[in-house]
Structures are given as C-alpha cells and as structure tokens.
C-alpha cells in the first residue's frame, strides 16, 4: 500500500548497521521487536554481506517462523541459501540465527564457572537450582547478554543483532549484569552461606533472622544456604563476566534500536527506556515506530472528500447504479468507506501527535506501515527491511 517511510533524521539504518558490530533490539511486548531484529539482520546479510547473526530469546518461536526455518535452537544455525532463492533473493552474505534456550544456557554457564566437574554436577542436580534457573534474577535478561558476549568474543560474525527478552520492563535488560554482580556480592548472601549453627549464634538477636526462620522454616533456609554455598564457588567468574558484559554494551561498536508502536503504553515505556539509556551512557542508534498508519490518512483534503462522498451519497448512488447494483447498496458502501476513512483519520492524527511528542534525537527514526499480511518468510522480512533501510 502506498506510504512513505523515509527516516526524518540524517542517518540511516543502512549506515548504522554498516558501522556497528552489535545491535540490540528493545521495546515493550507486542511491538514487533523480534520481527524488526530479524528484518534488520536479513537486510544486512542481503545488502552488506558478511556473516550476520540474529539471536532471539523469544519463547514464541517467532523468529524461526519469520525466517521460514524450522527448529532454530540454542546453537547458531545458518539460514539455508535455498530459503533465500525460494524468496527470489540472492544475498551477498550469510544469515545465521539462534534461539536462546535459557535453561541450556544456564547449565552451560554453570559448567564453565564451576571450579570442578563435581561441583557443577551438584549445582545442576540441586532441586532449588532446577526450579530457579528459569527465573533466577531476571535470568532471561542476563543469559541473553551473557550469550551475546560469548558469541561476540569468538569473533565469527561481522554483525550480531540481538532481540531482547520479553521483560516486565525493558529497563530490566540494561540492569541485569549490574544486578547479577550485586547479587553475588551482597551481605545477605554471605550470611546465608555461613553454616547454620554459627549463623544462629551470631545473628540470633536480630529480628530478620528470627522472622525468616519463622516464615520460611529452618529447613528451607538450610536448602537455600546449601544452594548458595555451591553457587558461591562461581562468584569470581560471574562477577567478572557480568562486568565484561556491561562494558561491551557500552562500547562504541554496540548500539540500541528501540522499537515501539504509537499506542500510549508502549510509547511511554519506550520513552522511559530511552531516558534511562541516555543516563547510563548507552548508544541510542535508532527508534523504529511500527504499525504506523499511512500519511495519506491524515490529509484534511481527503477528509473533506470523504465528507462530501457521504453527504452526496444519495445522488451518487443513483447515478452509479446502472449496471452496478441497487442504489441502496451503493449508498451504504459509500457511507461505510467515507465513515471508515474518517475513523482512521482520527487514529492517524493521534499517532502523528504522539510521534511528535517522542522528544528524542537518535540518529535514525524510521516508521513502518501496517502490512497487509503478517510477516512469515524471508521475502516478507526483506519487504519490511526495505521500509526502514535508507
């Protein structure tokens, strides 16, 4: 459908992706950040060449669907050239994809950081760990970044596009490494891993510990303590890694692409996210507004035309009736399409106002129109990518 999608500021996504090694796609749930991450990576592979990887944590397997590839897993998989040729595309480079499995990645992390195999096995077998590894301190957020760091370190890819996990809040993602480091250095953790007997002696008079014992029961506290004692052996590795991950995200070769729709709630979250990003010194590369109604829907002149179509639908339907349909039916169709245009115009104007209120200055602002079908293959991703590319 006809619409303009030209970026309103100087840079382009083309330039941004040519200049950076890591692009992190963020935004609140349901705005299309996974699809846009996949579209950006596909475009880079098609147009710029090199080895491009897109990583997602999306549990809904959206990425695999959009790439038209079944069974993308925790390990990076190359999108087969056949998938491109089926879509009539000859890419200059290679496109790779991975879908993060949080549990598998945590297990791998434990094996890497544990001082020996025995401790690793004990941690992996601990019931608390098994229960926890799925949602331990924003574990999706942390593990996504940890994995990003690992892949980037291998130096295999020219560009890595990361889709962030569906957090309660996009900001959680930025704070995950910091929180992980804090967690392992906290005083309470140290208290918990003191053997139970001396804990009672040392802290018996303090109200928290009495309360904790009464609420959770001594046995449960013991279980937690044991778990942390095992975990503590990985302390150095974890903290060092968390700090390194945080540094990588701050480097010049890393940039963020914030995705939002123009609805009130996602837009507000995007604004808050951008504020926090700038306060923490991350690089905001692009803001992509998704599912934007086309510009022509805002035109006053078209609204007047719609108004006249409705006002004169009596005589118009009589005039058009011969060889077409009963006047009453034409009348209804004219009324409906005029009414529909005026309805959507209200939405389009509201969107334009909200877009104007997005008071930030990233290098690139792009908007993506509504597509007539959902994106489910490489051809669709390229079609979408072209909208945001230059």
């Amino acid at each position: 459908m006809p619409t303009t999608a030209a970026p309103v500021r100087s840079g382009s996504l083309d330039q941004l992706l040519a200049a950076k090694e890591i692009v992190v796609s963020c935004g609140s749930g349901g705005v299309g950040k996974t699809t846009l991450a996949a579209a950006a990576a596909t475009m880079a592979a098609v147009r710029q060449g090199g080895k491009v990887l897109v990583v997602t944590v999306d549990p809904a397997k959206r990425l695999a669907n959009a790439l038209g590839v079944e069974g993308i897993g925790n390990e990076e998989t190359r999108v087969p050239t056949a998938a491109f040729s089926d879509a009539g595309i000859t890419p200059r480079g290679e496109l790779w994809a991975a879908m993060l499995d949080t549990k598998q990645s945590w297990d791998a992390l434990v094996r890497r950081h544990a001082p020996n195999d025995r401790t690793a096995s004990e941690i992996l077998a601990n019931p608390l760990y098994q229960n926890v590894s799925g949602r331990f301190v924003q574990s999706h957020d942390y593990i996504a970044m940890e994995r990003l760091y690992e892949i980037h370190n291998k130096g295999i890819y020219d560009l890595i596009v990361v889709d962030t996990p569906p957090s309660r809040n996009a900001i959680d993602f930025l704070e995950a490494p910091e929180r992980m480091a804090d967690f392992f250095s906290s005083r309470l953790l140290r208290w918990l891993i003191v053997p139970y007997r001396s804990r009672v002696v040392n802290f018996a008079s303090r109200p928290f510990y009495q309360v904790a014992d009464r609420i959770l029961g001594t046995q449960f506290l013991q279980d937690i303590a044991e778990f942390f004692m095992l975990f503590q052996t990985m302390y150095d590795g974890f903290v060092k890694r968390a700090n390194a991950v945080e540094r990588l995200l701050h480097e010049r070769r890393t940039t963020f692409m914030v995705v939002s729709t123009l609805e009130a709630a996602p837009l507000r979250e995007a604004e808050q996210f951008i504020e926090v990003m700038s306060a923490k010194g991350f690089h905001l590369g692009a803001v992509v507004l998704n599912k934007v109604l086309p510009d022509y829907m805002r035109s006053d002149r078209s609204a007047e035309v719609a108004g006249r179509l409705r006002a004169r639908s009596d005589e118009l339907s009589e005039a058009l009736a011969p060889g077409l349909a009963a006047p009453a039916q034409i009348h209804r169709v004219l009324d409906e399409l005029a009414e529909s245009f005026l309805n959507f115009q209200v939405v389009a104007c509201r969107e334009a106002e909200q877009q104007a209120e997005l008071a930030v200055t990233p290098e690139v602002v792009a908007s993506v129109p509504y597509f007539d079908t959902d994106i489910y293959d490489l051809a669709g991703l390229v079609r979408l990518g072209e909208r945001i590319w230059s």
Binding site: V211, I215, A265, Q329, E336, F341, D372
Partner: protein, 316 residues
C-alpha cells in the same frame, strides 16, 4: 464452571504486552461495580496503569474507593509482608520494616515463588475474608503470569512444614475452585497475541490449577462491507468509476478508497487469526469481543466504552 465470569470471586486478567490488558481489567471491575458488586481492582506491576485507565490519583496498597463500589489498590510486596507478619505470625512490627523487607526481597529474588506468594497470598486472603464480592487483578503479562499462579504449588512442594505450608494449602483451595477463581486472557486479532493466547491457555491447564474463565478479544475492527457489498466497493474503485466519483465530489477519492481497502485488509487478516483462536482453545471458554475504539485509546472514556461492550457481550 459458572456461566458468568463476574460471578467468581477472584479474576486474574492477563495478556501479551500492549493488548489493552489494564483497560480490560479496569472495565471488568467497573462493570461489576455498576452491577452492584463491591469490587476491588488490584494492580500488580505498580506502573500506574490503573490510575490512567480510571483517571484517579495514584493507587496505593491501602484500597481507595475510586468509583461507587469500586476500590483500587496496587500491590506492594513490602506492605504485603508487613500485613502478613501482623496477621499471621503476630510478630511485632515496630517502626520501619525496610531492612527486613530488603533482606526478604533478596530471598524472594533467589528463592522461587517467594515474592509471588506474597502477592497471590494477599489476593486469596481478601477472598477468604469475604471482604469483596469480586477481586479483579491486573496481572503480569502472559510470560510471567504462570509463575504467579503456580507459585503456591511450587512453594507447597518445596516447603514441607510450617506456617507457609499451611498458607499455601488454603491458597490452593481458593485458586483451584473454578467457582471462586478464574483467569481471563486478553488478546487482539493479531498473529502474536493469538499465538501467545493459545500457548498460555494450554500452559494454564497443564501447569496450574486455575480455570480459564474467558478470552477477551480487544480492538476488533468493524466489518466494513456486508454480503455482496465488497464487490460493489471493488467496482467503485475501478478507474472509470473512481474518476466519476472524483468529478462528482470535486477531489481526489483515491486516498479514501485506499483507506477503505486497508481497513478491509486489516479486518480480514484479523478474522483469520480469530478463527485460529476459536479452533484451538477449549470451546467451553467464551470469547468476548470488544470493538476497536477510534476516538480514544485510553483513559476513563475508553474504559467505560470497553465496559459497555463487555456488558453487551455478557448479555446484561
């Protein structure tokens, strides 16, 4: 399962981010209050979304009446812990609970389900004490709600004795009774929200004891043309007729025709997703449709309009 979703005592409302979950939760609460029920609306994430939807001041842990028979509160784990200690353990909580809460926060981060149990525990407590006719919860989005609803069972499995074990026992009784508790999933007629709804419906059944009370489909676009009318529209869009129309109204009609074409496409795409939704969830679960609101997307006016639509869908 009761026929009417508002006949339950505890209703969790969830959905993929951005589908209008808070608006639907607020409008269900508003509708219940308007129908004479003493209703409590509780926000879990404390983002202030309920305050926006009902245009009230900021909500707190202590419920405030924001509309006749409608009280609103926002969950606060520290306050909930304080209340729990006071009511259940008779631990004297003097002065600031800050250090205890912080330490507790830490244990809650590390131990599965501890924070969730304070949240769900407070809600179940309100139901057990019969403080309200209905408690509506603006719950976390789809990715997180299972953790919340499954927490009492998880804790029940991990903790073998003591007061927490007893707590989770009666909480489970309330949560697993379909006459008392239900989950309502909000979706929009789009691919991803529908996929997530189908997946969540299956997980709710396999991983929790909570019953699925209804699926609310929000932002359903109106059907533009009836039987045979689409052919008329297509004919009108043909070059000669479009030109005749343009001449008659003295202006370019193409954008108006394009706009209607877009509306038809969006509606049609949405309809295919809804067919998939209907085919893949238990047919006993009612689907309630809320039309797309062109004039307002949020605020009290939108909440009232959604409440009206739901009222019609429920046959009131």
């Amino acid at each position: 399962m009761p026929a009417d979703i508002l006949e339950r005592k505890l209703l969790f409302v969830t959905g993929k981010g951005g589908v209008g979950k808070t608006t639907v939760a607020s409008s269900l609460a508003l509708l219940a209050a308007n129908r004479g029920k003493r209703t409590l609306l509780c926000e879990i994430d404390a983002k202030g979304a309920i305050a926006d939807a009902l245009e009230t001041g900021r909500t707190r842990f202590q419920p405030t009446e924001v509309h006749p028979r409608l009280w609103a509160m926002s969950m606060d784990t520290e306050a909930s812990l304080r209340e729990y200690l006071r009511l259940n353990l008779r631990v004297p909580v003097v002065g600031r609970i800050g250090p205890i809460a912080r330490a507790f926060e830490f244990v809650a981060t590390a131990a599965p389900g501890v924070r969730e149990i304070l949240v769900v525990g407070k809600l179940c407590y309100e139901v057990r004490e019969r403080n309200w006719d209905l408690v509506v919860v603006d719950a976390p989005p789809t990715g997180h709600v299972i953790g919340e609803l499954a927490a009492p069972q998880a804790i029940n499995d991990l903790v073998s004795i003591g007061p927490v074990r007893q707590q989770t026992g009666w909480m489970l009784d309330i949560l697993s009774d379909p006459f008392l508790t239900g989950l309502c999933i909000v979706a929009t007629p789009e691919e991803m929200p529908v996929n997530e709804t189908i997946e969540l419906a299956a997980r709710v059944r396999s991983e929790t004891s909570v019953s699925l009370a209804a699926i609310v489909v929000n932002r359903v676009l109106p059907e533009l043309f009836g039987r045979g009318e689409e052919a008329v529209f297509d004919a009108l869009a043909e070059p000669d007729r479009a030109a005749a129309l343009a001449k008659a109204v003295d202006g370019d009609v193409q954008p108006v025709l394009d706009g209607a074409g877009l509306a038809v496409t969006l509606r049609r795409t949405g309809a295919t997703h809804l067919e998939r939704l209907r085919a893949q969830v238990d047919s006993a679960v009612p689907l309630l449709y809320v039309p797309y609101l062109f004039a307002r997307s949020h605020g009290l006016r939108a909440t009232r309009q959604v409440a009206e639509a739901l009222s019609a869908e429920l046959g009131y």
